[in-house]
């Protein structure tokens, strides 16, 4: 048995195999992440980047927290993330379940539904900017034909966030469809069969079988789409550049604009640090929320 694979446990080989991947991840992901803290406490701008950095303590953070534009960006983020996640999850779930029924052509439909996810954010942004255009957009033309009033999709500060949510839904929903489909595939049909014999309706088996069994997928899916929405800004950059004024500048776009539009790299780094915090809090609260639900279900069953 000397030559079997397990017998070599403890050798250096597996670590050596992991060195290339890990060194790239540490160098370009972990190190910058930690270094970000250092940058946020200094005074680095596009002009002083190669020169000397001055230590400023928490000044960048206090600047940030007293900046009304940053407050605005938090509100915009809340609407954008909340709207995106709710819409993508709901629509994605409906489509995944519908496509999982025994219907003709479900594979072909699935393939077509995935297309928007393969389209880059920049291209999604351009396409929707074109369609939603206030002056020559095809959508407003359609509304007019139906006797409705045209909407200033991209220039009305109260509307623009929802326009972005719609574009983001188009782009992001396929991921939820794929991910939840993978989850649905992992549930054995035998379970449904048993439930059917016991007289459960389809709707009942969805709520009492599908949802609980899908839960691990749902949690990861929600965490991923939430984080992606929090950090997503290429689409917004292309469609509105955060405007009109700051009406569609989410916190991640705020970070980008501070750093690369105004050159304030350290202030951007501080905003990035707060973004990480936001991500962690959101991920943690999803996990907590689902754990608690589990507990209440258990007690009810007892």
């Amino acid at each position: 048995m000397k030559l079997t694979l397990e017998a070599r446990a403890g050798s250096l080989q597996p670590y050596l195999l992991l060195v290339p991947a890990l060194s790239i991840l540490v160098g370009f992901l972990l190190f910058p992440l930690i270094w970000n803290i250092y940058i946020s406490m200094h005074n680095v701008s596009l002009t002083t980047i190669l020169g000397e950095w001055k230590y400023v303590g928490f000044k960048n953070f206090s600047n940030l927290l007293s900046d009304p534009d940053f407050h605005m960006s938090l509100q915009v983020s809340l609407l954008f993330v909340g709207g995106s996640v709710a819409l993508q999850f709901f629509v994605g779930m409906v489509l995944a379940v519908v496509l999982n029924q025994q219907i003709w052509g479900s594979n072909a439909f699935r393939a077509l539904f995935i297309i928007p996810w393969t389209v880059s954010a920049v291209i999604t942004g351009f396409s929707f900017k074109f369609i939603f255009s206030d002056s020559f957009g095809v959508l407003n033309y359609g509304l007019e034909q139906m006797g409705l009033n045209p909407v200033a999709w991209l220039s009305d500060p109260g509307v623009v966030v929802w326009t972005l949510v719609i574009a983001n839904m188009w782009h992001g929903t396929p991921f939820t469809v794929i991910f939840l489909t993978a989850g649905l595939f992992s549930i054995s049909p035998v379970v449904y069969e048993a439930a059917r014999i016991d007289g459960a309706t389809k709707i009942k088996s969805f709520f009492y079988i599908t949802l609980p069994l899908l839960k691990p997928f749902i949690i990861i899916n929600l965490i991923l789409i939430t984080m992606w929405s929090v950090n997503f800004f290429d689409l917004i950059l292309v469609m509105t550049n955060g405007g009109p004024l700051f009406a569609s500048t989410t916190s991640s776009l705020y970070m980008y604009r501070q750093a690369f539009e105004f050159g304030l790299l350290s202030k951007g780094a501080a905003a990035g640090f707060l973004l990480i915090g936001m991500n962690l809090v959101l991920a943690y609260s999803y996990i907590r929320l689902f754990r608690r639900k589990e507990r209440t279900v258990e007690t009810r069953q007892m």
Binding site: L3, T4, L5, R8, P14, L17, L18, P20, A21, I24, L25, F28, L29, F31, P32, L33, N36, I39, I49, L50, L95, V98, Q101, I103, A111, L112, F113, I115, P116, W117, T118, V119, S120, A121, V122, I123, F126, S127, F130, S135, Y141, I178, F179, A182, S186, F217, M227, V230, F233, D234, V238, M255, Y256, A259, G268, A269, G272, L275, N279, A283
Partner: protein, 274 residues
């Protein structure tokens, strides 16, 4: 299935199919219109005089052609590097027992959750300091953080479906570990490698945030950034732009349509074993 149910299911599908395809078809139709016609109001569903001029413009504009070439180079380089590096790591996870294995695996998957956006500022400063700013190499390297975790996960699951006995036989015959990987695992995992490669290509080809910050000089610009710059420099010529959009779409859409069934199966594999 009762008829009402069926009607309901197909109406849901029809509605979302329209939502999915209408924007793409609209952009496709526009790309065959002259620039003035593209923004004429009321809009016309189909071009009056279909023309290929927009495509000709994009494919002959030196800046855009360079950027297309750069995109291909970076995407192929990024895909190759990431699949190779991930395969080694995935092999370690699939075939060895070692200290800290589970911790390492969950750390790698956890890293996947760190949004790259947060890293752009430190990455920019870092690369500026080592003189790699505005180089294609910087893109190939930084793109890795987007794809390595996912590839390790996919390939590890794939390797685990291959019976160990095959390798053990080779090892008994005096084959080294790495040779066993190369001669037995790799040929048997071609489908797994294909999914990993296609996903990597999609990520690299579509990435915009890293390149717009890390390499936005004309000679190292990628196509996504070039399209973006193209509109901010001149007034938007929607005819040209929609043609550019379609050119950018072709490679990824084709690859994804080919691979979607395998991809879902790949994810399911991970789920069952996960």
């Amino acid at each position: 299935m009762i008829p009402i149910e069926k009607t309901l299911i197909y109406s849901v599908i029809a509605v979302y199919l329209f939502i999915t395809l209408a924007p793409l078809l609209w952009v496709l139709s526009t790309s065959f219109k002259a620039n003035e016609e593209a923004i004429s109001f009321p809009p016309k569903l189909l071009p009056d005089a279909p023309t290929l001029d927009n495509y000709l413009f994009v494919l002959t504009d030196p800046k855009l052609v360079t950027s297309l070439f750069n995109s291909l180079l970076v995407s192929i380089g990024g895909t190759g590097l990431s699949v190779a590096v991930s395969a080694l790591g995935a092999y370690a996870f699939a075939r060895f027992e070692f200290k800290g294995k589970n911790l390492l695996m969950s750390t790698i998957l956890g890293l996947f959750m760190i949004p790259v956006v947060i890293n752009i500022i430190p990455l920019y400063i870092m690369l500026a300091n080592v003189g790699l700013l505005n180089s294609l190499l910087a893109l190939v390297l930084t793109f890795q953080i987007l794809i390595i975790p996912l590839n390790i996960f996919l390939l590890k699951n794939y390797f685990e479906t291959i019976p160990k006995e095959l390798e053990e036989a080779a090892l008994i015959d005096g084959c080294s570990k790495l040779r066993a990987l190369w001669h037995i695992i790799v040929p048997m995992s071609i489908p797994g490698f294909l999914i990993a490669a296609i996903l990597s290509f999609r990520f690299s080809w579509n990435e915009f945030v890293l390149p717009i910050v890390l390499s936005n000089k004309p000679d190292v610009m990628v196509f996504q950034v070039a399209l973006y710059q193209f509109i901010s420099l001149y007034r938007i010529d929607w005819g040209y732009l929609t043609a550019g959009i379609n050119i950018a779409l072709i490679p990824v859409v084709v690859l994804m349509l080919i691979s979607q069934k395998r991809m879902i199966r790949g994810l399911t594999l991970g789920a069952v074993r996960g």
